[in-house]
Symmetry: C3
Subunit: 372 residues, 3 copies
Amino acid sequence: MRMIKFCKVISLLVLIQSCVSSKEMVKTSPDDSIENSMVLALEWQEQHPIYSLDPTDWTNGAYYTGVVKAHQATNNQVFLAALKNMGHKNEWKTCFRYYHADDIAISYSYLYINKLRKHLVDLKPTDNFISDHLYKDHEWKQGSDEGDKKILWWWCDALFMAPPVLVEYANLKNDRIYLDSMHQYYMQTYQLLYDKKEHLFARDLRFKWTGKDTDLKEKNGKKIFWSRGNGWVIAGLALIIEGMPVGYEHRPFYVNLFQEMASKIKETQPKDGLWRTSLLSPESFNHGEVSGSGFFTFALAWGVNNGLLDKETYLPTINKAWKALRSCQQENGKIGWVQNIGASPEPASKDSWQNFGTGAYLLAGSEVLKLK
Amino acid sequence: MRMIKFCKVISLLVLIQSCVSSKEMVKTSPDDSIENSMVLALEWQEQHPIYSLDPTDWTNGAYYTGVVKAHQATNNQVFLAALKNMGHKNEWKTCFRYYHADDIAISYSYLYINKLRKHLVDLKPTDNFISDHLYKDHEWKQGSDEGDKKILWWWCDALFMAPPVLVEYANLKNDRIYLDSMHQYYMQTYQLLYDKKEHLFARDLRFKWTGKDTDLKEKNGKKIFWSRGNGWVIAGLALIIEGMPVGYEHRPFYVNLFQEMASKIKETQPKDGLWRTSLLSPESFNHGEVSGSGFFTFALAWGVNNGLLDKETYLPTINKAWKALRSCQQENGKIGWVQNIGASPEPASKDSWQNFGTGAYLLAGSEVLKLK
Amino acid sequence: MRMIKFCKVISLLVLIQSCVSSKEMVKTSPDDSIENSMVLALEWQEQHPIYSLDPTDWTNGAYYTGVVKAHQATNNQVFLAALKNMGHKNEWKTCFRYYHADDIAISYSYLYINKLRKHLVDLKPTDNFISDHLYKDHEWKQGSDEGDKKILWWWCDALFMAPPVLVEYANLKNDRIYLDSMHQYYMQTYQLLYDKKEHLFARDLRFKWTGKDTDLKEKNGKKIFWSRGNGWVIAGLALIIEGMPVGYEHRPFYVNLFQEMASKIKETQPKDGLWRTSLLSPESFNHGEVSGSGFFTFALAWGVNNGLLDKETYLPTINKAWKALRSCQQENGKIGWVQNIGASPEPASKDSWQNFGTGAYLLAGSEVLKLK
C-alpha cells in the first residue's frame, strides 16, 4: 500500500468501492439503539427457551419480568407478543410449590398482561398460589430443625421472586392485606440476612458470620456477598417501591434500604463496569458477570429516573455498567457472561447464558433507555 | 478498469480484494427468488408468534391461510411443517365464539392439511363450530337493537373469515347445504355494506352513507373505504371462487363482484404501487400499507392466473404492487408497514407488523409466483 | 473524492477501509469449530420443527437422539435445553402405536434426561409402551398373512428405533429381561433381513432375493441396499453396544455385526465422501445423501473412539465423510441433501431436509469431535 503512486483509477475504484460499501452499510448497518439491542436479546432468548423445573419456574419468572419492563419502556409489541405467548403456553399457571417464593415469580408477568388485556389472563392459579403461600400452614411457618429455613423467605433471592408480585397483587385487589403480609415476611428475611455494616445481603444463613472460626469467608478474609444474590434484592426493591402506594406506611423502610444498598453497590463497581460474582472479593473470579450487573444497573438507573438516587453521582456508574453489558451481547443477540444457576459466587464465561441473565439485561436496558 | 496501466501492486491488491468480495458474495448473496422471500417471511413470523385473543384466532387464521397458499404454490415443506405444527399446538381447535366469523378462519388451514394427510387432523371442533355458526340460534339471527348487528356477518372482514372455510367444508362433505348457507349470509352482508356506485365495501354500518349530515366522511368529502377491509373481501372472493364448484348456480354473482371490485382497486392504486389505508383519501395517511395491498395483489394476480381478469390490463398494477411489497420486507424476513389491528383506516410504519400482514404477503407471493 | 490527486489521502482511506473490514471480519468471522456447526444445526432445526405423525414420532425420536449425543459430547447446555423443552411439550409421551418400534424412539431422549435430572421426567408413558410393545399380544406375534410382518421388527429401520431404548431401559431398571427381549427380537430381524454375503441389511422383505425372476434389483443387476436403512442399523448398533453391559453374553454378536457392516460401508464410500442412497448402485442417484452418510460417519467414528475399529484404517473414511457432510450445511445452519421420508433409495437435493437428517449430522459431529 505504501507503493501506490497513481490514482485516478484508484480513486475511481475507491469511489465504486465506497458506493458498494455504503449501500451495504444501509442494508447491514446494525441499529445500535438500546431498544434494538433489547429486541435482539429477546429474539435470541425466545429461540432458546430454557427452564430448570418447569417453564413456569423462577428462571422464566425473572426473564419475563425483564420482558414486562422492556414492553413498558418501549411499547414495542414484540415484547407483549412474547409475554402473551408464554402465558398461553403456560396456561397462566404458577409453578407448583406453593410454599416456595420462586414459584410465584412468573405471576409478575401475568398481572402485567392482565392490566393491559382484560378477560385474557386466567388469574385463578395466581390467586390460589398467593393464598396458599401467605396463609396456608407449612413447616416453615412452624419453624424446623434447619435453623435458616424456619422462615418463609430464607434466602435473599426470594426477595425478588415473591414481594414484587404481592405488591402488584395488592394493587389489583386494592387490598393492603397483601402488602402487610409481604412486609411481615420481608422483615423476617431482612433481619435474618441483611448485614447492617456492609449494607449487603448474605445469600442465606450459610454466609452469615456468627463470630465462629467456621464462618465462611473469601481468601482475602472478607465476607462472601454474592453479586446476583444482591442483584435480586435491589432489583426487587425497585419493583416493590415502584408498585407500592406512595402513602404506604412502610415505604420509607424500602426506600432507605434501597439507597443504602445502592451506595454500597456503586462503591464495589470494578473499573471495567461489571461487578464480579463475589462483591468483596473481585479477585476470586476476576471477570464481569452479567446477571448481577444487569440487576444493579437496572436498580441504579431506576433510582435515578425516579428521584431516589442523585443523577450526577450515579450516572457515571450506570453508563460504565451499561456500556460493559452491551459488550457481553453477541452479534446474534445472545447475552453471555451469565453465571449459571447457583447459590453463591461462581465464575461465568463468554458463552454462558441463562434466561434470567437476558432478563437482567432487559431490565437494565429498560431504565437506561429513559436516562437519555 | 480497462484503463489501468500502472499498478501491478494495486491490481494485485484489487484482485485479492475482489476475490474476497466475490467469495463473500457467493456466501451471502441473497436468493432473490419470490419463494425465498416467502420462506424468509414465514421464518420471521414463526419466530414471532402473536395472537389477539388466542392462537386459534382470526389473526392466525389469516396468516396461516397465506401459509396454505404458499405451500400450494411452492410445495416447499417448510410451509407444510409450519401448518402442521400450528394445528398440533392448537389441538385443531377453532377459537371459541361460535357466532363469530373470525373464530372459524383457522379451519381453512385444518381443512387443507386434512386434504393432504388423512387421519391427522381432528375435524370435530370445526364440525361443531360450523354447525353452531350456521344453524344454532343466536341473538344476531333474531335481530337486535344494534341495527348493524342483526345479521351474522355485519362487518366486511367476515367475508374473508368464514365463507372460504364454508366452501371448503362443502367440498369435504360434498354437501351444497353449506354453500347455500354461505350464500344466504353473504348476500345479507353484500346488501348491507356494498356500495354499488363505488364498488367497494363499507367496513360496517358506521361507514355507510344515509344522506344525513352525520355520515362519516374523509376530509376531502369522500366516503371512507378501508383498504384492508376491502382486501379481506376481494381476497376472500378469490378463495371462494377457487373452491366453489364451477357449476354452482350463484358462482356468477361472485365472479361479477370480484371483477367489479378488481377494476375499482386497480383504479385506486397509488403511483408507488401500494394502496393507502383510506382508498379514496390517500392523502389521509400518505404511505403504502402492506396488509390491504397484499390482499389486493393476491386477488388481482389470482384473477389473471385464473382467467377472470385481463392479463395485459392488470399485470402492470400487479408488478408495481409486488415490487413495492418486496421493499417492505426487512433483511431478516420481517414484513413491515402493516396497519395494526383495527376497524378503519389508520397509519402504519416501517416497523409495524402483524401475523396477518405476513399472511397477506404470502398470499400475494403465491400468485405472483405463477405469473412468471 | 473527485479531487484526490496524491495518494496519502488514498492510502489513508484504504487503511481506514481495511480497518473497518478487519473489524467486521472479527465480528462476523464464523466459529468454524465442530461444536459451533452442531449448535447452528440445532438452532435451525429447533426453528423449523417438523413431524410426520406427531411430535413424539420417530422423526423427532431420531433427531433428539442426535441432540442427546451432542449434549454428551459437548456439555453445551443449548442441547440439554432443547431436550427438556421437547420433553415438556410432549408431556414425556411416546407416540401411540404400542406395537410399532418407531413410536418408542423418542424415549431414548427421555431416559437420557432422566439420568441427569431426577424427578423431572415422567417415565410412565415409556414404562407402559415398553411393557405393551414387548409383552402384550398382537397380530404380529401370532404371524399374519403378510409374510414379512409376522415379526415385531419387520423392517431394518426398527433396529435403530427400539433396541437402543430397551438397552437404556434395562440399565435403568437394572433388569436384563429387557436386554433378553431386545435380543430375541433383534435376532428375528437379523435372520429375516441381513444379507450374510453382502454384510448389509435389506430394508424389508421386498428387497430380499429369493432367487426368483421377480426379485427387485438395480439396473446394474445388484441388490438394492438402502443407505439410510443401513445407517439406521449400524448407528443403532453403536448405541446398543455403548449401552449394553460389557459382560452381556450376546454382546459379541453385536460387536461382530458392527464390524462386519463397518467394513462393507467403508468399502462402498464414494470418492467425494458421501454415500449414495443406493449403496451398490451409486449411479442410480449420483449425489451424496446426508442422513445415511451421517449415521455411517457416527458409527465409524464411534467404533474408532471405542476401540472396535482400527483408527488408521477408518480415519481417512471418516474425515472425508465429515468434510463432505460439513459442506451440506448451509450458512444459516440448515442441513440439506437429506432424502425425504421413505423406505428405499430415492434422490435428495441441496435443499431437502428432515429433522432426522439433522439428527444424523449431530450424531456424526458428536463422535468426530472426539477424534481430534
